[in-house]
């Protein structure tokens, strides 16, 4: 077993395979429709479950007729409140599961729900997050933070800007809905599920059913998108498992698209009351933020104040975050939870400050650059934000030209926003590398690939370490019975957590190969290396790898690797900046985002081709919540109104701007044997603020609420016009 700290870091820049563009190893199969997602799993005798969900935001179930459903043709199993933990007779949000039916077909299961004839006593829901805070209806304690003396700082500041920002509820809406197929073999359960965390599902299910963990096998080889919402087993998995247990047959429980919009998590809305005080030269003296997060009935409080605390050098910072507990569907992690919302508020606030100071917004960011972690002065394992700013300059320098292209009624402008996020991943994660007599290698893991290109990245890492061509590497993943523990594919942690383990495993295998080679060629191991599918010796000799591995015959080499610890005493973060160019029709409030330049530092890039796709994808998803996506509730009843993909509007191909991507690709020399940080989340973080700041640059309008709907922007434009006409305040 090789702990990955023992390996020397690779040099910077493109290597043989790592750092070079590579086609996704599974792209062809996916494109041809040949791979099996959970949605495609069909087992003999499989039943389909339909879930009865609360139609009310808060209610009590007065009566329900489970037997009436049981007697319908095709129905094989019915469960209700009391039969399974997630099923409740006292629902606290619209869509909360109450009962479930398994039948031969989904249609029969769905029709049987009507036979349950539930009767409800409607109760008054708590929907207003500010009211929830007043009443103390919170999830967890309020989170408070303070350094320095904010009151004094604001009092002493030359300029103070205060503003309230709001962000909306955003739904993940991955194209494959949440779903599981469960099948028992005696007391052992196999769960096919669309997930970001195979091992987490295993633990959740084992706990729920009182099983030894290894009696639960979780299989997930292909996922149709996650974005943070698929980190847990979910009610649907437990429902499928329980119905499978009772019926003795496999059961699929799949959310419909409408259920997906009701109860599969959301990026929680926020209300942010922010203030910044600075000197006339733009150096920040104080930052204050009060954040109310409308978490819903359950969930956890994301670090929405994180950017304010961590992004800039500022001696006095005071934040308080509240997690309001409401009768709405629980939040779930969504691509950089908290930081998307927090960067929106902070970067818009700073932009408003820049306007007041008549200071260039990029210069304002530079003047408040934090050379060490503002939280506790720790050094960064690697921070290249200054270089990101430098590379953004040519994009930023376009703004005069962009503005000059304004032509009634279109006004054009440019805006920017910084990005900060966690990115180091961490232990534990494990990998094995198996090499057979043909000299081909298999990377054996039980991780998942949610579409981010994990398979390919791991293959590249193993290929690099073993000196093999990419085509000779296969990657196994997606089955907890067939590989060792892997971290979840979330928090931008896969490459940074699994990657080093894979490299370590490959190095272990390589060492064993060289051990055989040293005996075979009677040379010391230390003069031998693997390259280009060959065993090479320092004096120029080389032999095909198969000559050595061929000696194995039926035996195999098994290399094992583990993810070591993160660098102690250091803060591991990613940084970046995006520059957005927009055109605004000032009469209709239409916004066209014409260009986004994204510069991100996420350490070593394994595959520039996939990395570019991640950045584009994150930006496009960011544009969605900036301009058109919002989950809407009926204000009085708290019921979800946007349940379909025509009401909940994600970007289409026609909404895409020119996107220019620059990744620094500077390995973090303190972080693992790879120096790679995660890229999944950084690109979605600054987009909204960059766009809103560009709107301000173009029109003077201060948009403080997302999404930037027509009504929002028209109101902001009107206000900006009134401000321009009004006499200057004293």
């Amino acid at each position: 077993m090789v702990e990955e700290d023992a390996l020397d870091p690779w040099q910077a820049g493109p290597l043989e395979t790592v750092g070079r563009p590579a086609e996704r190893v599974d792209a062809r199969a996916r494109a041809r429709g040949e791979v099996q997602y959970t949605a495609d799993v069909q087992l003999p005798g499989m039943l389909h479950a339909a879930v009865l969900r609360s139609p009310h935001a808060r209610a009590r179930l007065v009566a329900i007729n489970l037997d009436a459903a049981r007697s319908l043709p095709g129905v094989r199993g019915v469960i209700g409140p009391g039969d399974l933990e997630p099923l409740t007779a006292e629902p606290n949000y619209h869509g909360q599961p109450v009962a479930a039916v398994a039948a031969d077909s989904f249609r029969e299961a769905r029709d049987a729900l009507a036979a349950l004839a539930p009767q409800w006593e409607r109760l008054e829901p708590l929907l207003d997050p500010e009211e929830a805070v007043r009443r103390g209806s919170l999830i967890g304690e309020a989170r408070r933070y303070s350094r320095g003396d904010v009151s004094r700082g604001l009092a002493e500041a030359d300029v103070v800007v205060e503003a309230e920002y709001r962000t909306q509820s955003v739904l993940h809406n991955a194209l494959e809905t949440h779903q599981s197929v469960c099948v028992w073999e005696d007391a052992r359960l196999t769960v096919y599920t669309s997930t970001q965390f195979i091992w987490g599902v295993r633990d959740d299910v084992a706990e729920a059913f009182g099983l030894p963990k290894d009696d639960v096998r979780v299989v997930c080889r292909y996922v149709g998108g996650g974005f943070g919402a698929k980190n847990e087993a979910g009610d649907y998995t437990l429902i499928a498992a329980e119905l499978a247990r009772r019926t003795g047959l496999p059961v699929r429980c799949a959310l419909t698209r409408r259920e997906e919009n009701l109860d599969s998590g959301n990026r929680n809305p926020t209300i942010q009351r922010l203030a910044v005080g600075s000197r006339a030269d733009g150096r920040l003296i104080a930052l204050r933020g009060e954040y109310v997060c409308a978490l819903g009935w359950d969930g956890w409080l994301p670090s929405v104040a994180g950017p304010m605390k961590m992004l800039y050098a500022c001696d006095s910072v005071e934040t308080v975050e509240y997690g309001a507990k409401l009768n709405t569907s629980p939040m779930a992690a969504f691509r950089a939870p908290g930081f998307v919302e927090g960067v929106f508020g902070l970067e818009c606030l700073l932009d408003e400050l820049a306007v007041r100071l008549e200071l260039d917004p990029l210069e304002l960011r530079r003047r408040n650059y934090a050379d060490s972690d503002p939280l506790d002065d720790r050094p960064f394992s690697g921070k290249n934000l200054a270089e990101c700013y430098r590379r953004a300059e040519p994009h930023w320098a376009r703004r005069d030209e962009v503005r000059s292209r304004s032509e009634e009624p279109w006004k054009r402008g440019v805006g920017l926003a910084s990005q900060i996020w966690y990115g180091g991943g961490g232990p534990p994660s494990y990998a094995w590398v198996r090499v057979g007599s043909d000299g081909h290698a298999v990377v054996v893991t039980a991780m998942q690939d949610i579409g981010t290109g994990t398979r390919t990245a791991m293959a590249q890492i193993a290929a690099e370490e073993l000196g093999l061509p990419l085509e000779h590497i296969r990657v196994e993943l997606g089955d907890s019975a067939r590989g060792p523990y892997a971290v979840e594919s979330g928090g931008s942690s896969t490459v940074s957590s699994m990657g080093p383990a894979v490299r370590a495993a490959a190095a272990d295998a390589a060492r064993q190969i060289l051990e055989i080679a040293s005996q075979r060629y009677d040379l010391e191991e230390r003069v031998l290396s693997l390259r280009n599918g060959q065993v090479m010796s320092a004096d120029g000799g080389s032999w095909p790898l198969e000559e050595v591995t061929g000696l194995l015959e039926d035996a195999q080499i098994l290399g094992r690797g583990a993810r070591g610890p993160n660098p102690t005493g250091m803060r591991v973060l990613t940084f970046g900046i995006q520059v957005a160019e927009v055109a605004v029709d000032v009469e209709t409030g239409e916004v066209k985002v014409e260009r986004i330049a994204a510069v991100h530092d996420v350490g070593r890039i394994i595959n520039p081709l996939n990395a570019g796709s991640q950045v584009e994808g994150g930006i496009i998803q960011g544009l969605g919540h900036t301009l058109s996506e919002q989950r809407l509730l009926d204000p009085r009843s708290g019921e979800v109104l946007t349940q379909t993909l025509d009401a909940y509007r994600v970007p289409t191909a026609a909404d895409v701007p020119e996107i220019v991507v620059e990744l620094l690709d500077v390995p973090d020399e303190h972080l693992t044997n790879l120096g790679s940080k995660g890229l999944g989340e950084p690109p979605i973080i600054p987009t909204a603020a960059a766009v809103v700041n560009a709107i301000r640059d173009a029109t003077g309008a201060d948009v403080r609420s997302l999404p930037v709907t027509r009504e929002e922007l028209l109101a902001a434009l009107k206000e900006a016009r009134a401000r321009a006409l009004a006499p200057q305040a004293g």
Partner: protein, 276 residues
């Protein structure tokens, strides 16, 4: 769909139940229980399809119209900006004129006025996509782009039993009758004929660049010195305006006031476009 009987009649004379052509609205309405149907008859291949000057077969798809050079600009543009490519391939002009509102309360089967109940949930609730005209009893918005275009183009509907101006196809829902369309039972639209204008246009404000219902759509068609205007997305039915000043008669709700602003701008631009 459980129990739904699908017929394939040999001719239009013997179809039963609901007429199914593209099915892009009807299929989902039946599945969601918003429309009662035991039987549907697949008449897609039987309906007249194609253009003969300004006379359009009801079975002509929006994609056909989008791609035709002959079609008046307002209608062509309305089709081009409607829905998605697949829906345009499937959806017929006849069906499009008859499509139901996208009001979320109605679509989610709330017991609202339009469904026969006694209150309009949108008026009291979330109504950012709803009406600014004719909205006293029901604030739903009519989602059809081509309907507004054809209304401005002075279109006539020809069914299997009569002909009448397109405007008479629509009615505001009342206490006694909650229907927004005025077809008789099993009456089938066969043709739509419009008057060729000297110039016409269709402008649409929507929430994303494509594949979105109109927040406000404005069709303008000029005949000599006279311009006809019709709007989508602003009333329970396609809304004809005699002139731009009729916008002053709008009755916006608190959450739809912005639509009036949009309408003013788009009407002004549409008038400019057609050289009014």
């Amino acid at each position: 769909m459980r129990g739904l009987s699908l017929r394939r009649p040999a001719s239009l004379d013997d179809f039963e139940g609901r007429a199914l052509a593209g099915g892009t609205d009807l299929v989902t309405l039946i599945r969601d229980g918003l429309v009662e149907a035991g039987t549907v008859s697949d008449v897609r291949a039987l309906l007249p399809r194609g253009l003969d000057g300004t006379r359009i077969g009801a079975g002509t798809t929006l994609a056909d119209l989008e791609r035709s050079d002959e079609v008046a600009e307002a209608l062509r543009e309305a089709c081009r900006l409607a829905a998605s490519p697949q829906l345009r391939n499937m959806g017929t002009i006849g069906g499009n004129l008859l499509q139901a509102t996208r009001c979320w309360y109605w679509r989610l089967d709330y017991p609202c006025f339009l469904h026969g109940g006694d209150r309009c949930h949108a008026r009291e609730g979330e109504h950012r996509e709803h009406a600014i005209f004719g909205n006293e009893l029901c604030a739903s918005a009519h989602p059809s782009d081509p309907a507004a275009a054809l209304l401005a183009l002075g279109a006539t509907i020809e069914t299997d039993r009569r002909s009448f101006p397109l405007g008479e196809l629509y009615r505001l829902p009342t206490e006694d009758d909650r229907n927004v369309t005025a077809l008789e039972s099993s009456e089938l639209i066969l043709h739509v004929e419009y008057e060729r204008p000297e110039a016409s246009t269709y402008l649409k404000a929507m929430d994303r660049a494509r594949f979105s219902f109109p927040l406000v759509g404005v069709a303008a068609a000029r005949y000599g010195g006279e311009v006809r205007l019709a709007l989508s997305g602003v009333a329970p039915i396609p809304w004809a305006l005699g002139s731009a000043t009729e916008l002053d008669e709008a009755t916006p709700l608190p959450g739809t006031a912005y639509k009036l602003e949009l309408a003013r701008v788009l009407v002004r631009r549409a008038l400019e476009r057609v050289g009014a």
